[in-house]
């Protein structure tokens, strides 16, 4: 039923819109035919041609009004009006370029600002974290004795929490301060930033490096070779995306001379397997 309705009406609407001249001509011809027939009848009844014409027109109660009513029936008046308004607006704007420029600048700034804010909100709030099961990831805070909360947790406490943990499937930590390092060796020395993390950090997020093994709890033990995971960006810029980077030795130097026992040696020559991190992690290099 609906489909059949459209079968008749859609071509008519399109015709009213895009063949307007023809539709108008047909309307004129249809009404002219009517008037001519009526004039014939009137003259046959004894009127003069002039009288007959006036009588026929009077019977229409205003020819132009009737035509307007017929146009209203085409159901495209809204679109026609909209199109006329649009053209009128364009003409008015072209006449006042200064005014137009101000409007355009205001619109551009407004749209730009909104887009920027939305990109941020989208990335930070709307999009889920780029890990498997992002809804199962939680941030654990420490409570401070003087009433503050959302504090960070000390390294030794982290190890205690982890060994006594029954609540979480995995429990990992990273240093809250960024550790600046000097990267020497082949090429120019470079200042880089790094972060110390627990051995199960990547397992917690369930991400794997693009190359190599990553960290395991074995790497936390003292006396082990120090292992580094490179960010994708650093791998590309410093090592030219070298696919044989795994197991190469690099020499990052801790800047601070004093370092806690747990961190000791981290700044020394890192030997053993150098592993490339996935771009997903976006570790600062």
């Amino acid at each position: 039923m609906r489909l059949e309705h459209w079968f008749y009406t859609v071509p008519l609407r399109l015709r009213s819109l895009f063949r307007r001249g023809q539709v108008e001509a047909e309307l004129d011809e249809e009404l002219r035919y009517h008037l001519e027939r009526q004039i014939e009848v009137n003259t046959a009844a004894g009127m003069s041609v002039e009288e007959a014409r006036y009588a026929a027109l009077r019977a229409m109660h205003g020819l132009d009004q009737r035509k307007e009513e017929c146009r209203d029936m085409r159901r495209v008046r809204f679109i026609e009006d909209l199109w006329q308004d649009f053209r009128f607006s364009v003409r008015s704007l072209l006449k006042r370029p200064g005014f137009t420029a101000i409007i355009l600048i205001a619109l551009a700034l407004g749209i730009g600002a909104n887009t920027a804010i939305f990109s941020l909100v989208n990335a930070v709030i709307l999009q889920p974290l780029p890990y498997p099961d992002p809804d199962r990831l939680v941030w654990v805070y420490g409570n401070l004795r003087n009433g503050g909360n959302r504090g960070s947790v000390g390294p030794l406490e982290v190890l205690d929490y982890r060994s006594q943990n029954k609540t979480f499937e995995q429990f990992a930590a990273s240093s809250t301060t960024i550790l600046p390092m000097n990267f020497t060796g082949s090429g120019e020395p470079e200042r880089i930033t790094s972060s110390a993390i627990t051995g199960n950090y990547f397992d917690t997020f369930r991400v794997r490096p693009a190359l190599g093994r990553g960290f395991s709890l074995e790497n936390e033990k003292t006396g082990q070779d120090h292992v580094t995971v490179l960010s994708h960006g650093f791998w590309q810029t410093r090592f030219g995306g070298d696919p044989n980077i795994v197991n190469k030795t690099i020499h990052p130097q801790r800047q601070s001379l004093r370092s806690s026992r747990r961190d000791a040696g981290r700044g020394g020559p890192a030997t053993g397997c150098a592993v490339v991190g996935t771009a997903k992690l976006r570790l600062r290099s």
């Binding site: 249809e30 109660h61 159901r75």
Partner: protein
Amino acid sequence: MYTSLGNRWRAMSKPTDLVQGTLDLLILKILALEPLHGWAIGQRLKQVSDDTLQVSDGSLYPALHKLEQEGWIKAEWKPSENNRRAKFYTLTRTGRKELEREAANWNRLSTAISLVVQLKEA
């Protein structure tokens, strides 16, 4: 500028001397018998109703255009009985259904009104 939109979209055929909406029914019924052009429809209305139903020439054409745009009748240009090109209207399949619907409505309404009019005064 668009406030009258609602009225435009629901435009009814409104001859002053007919119950609202009945002009549609009359046109559909007349076209169910044979395809006719506008002028002939007006003449036929006067004939079959013994000049009781005088539809003004003005209101006939907007009504025809409305019915056409609803898809109930379709138009075709053909030579008329005096050999001039005229716009002939034919009932469509959906138009026939609409005619049945409106005729049933009319019967219901007129029966109800007759019942009221025939009430005896106590």
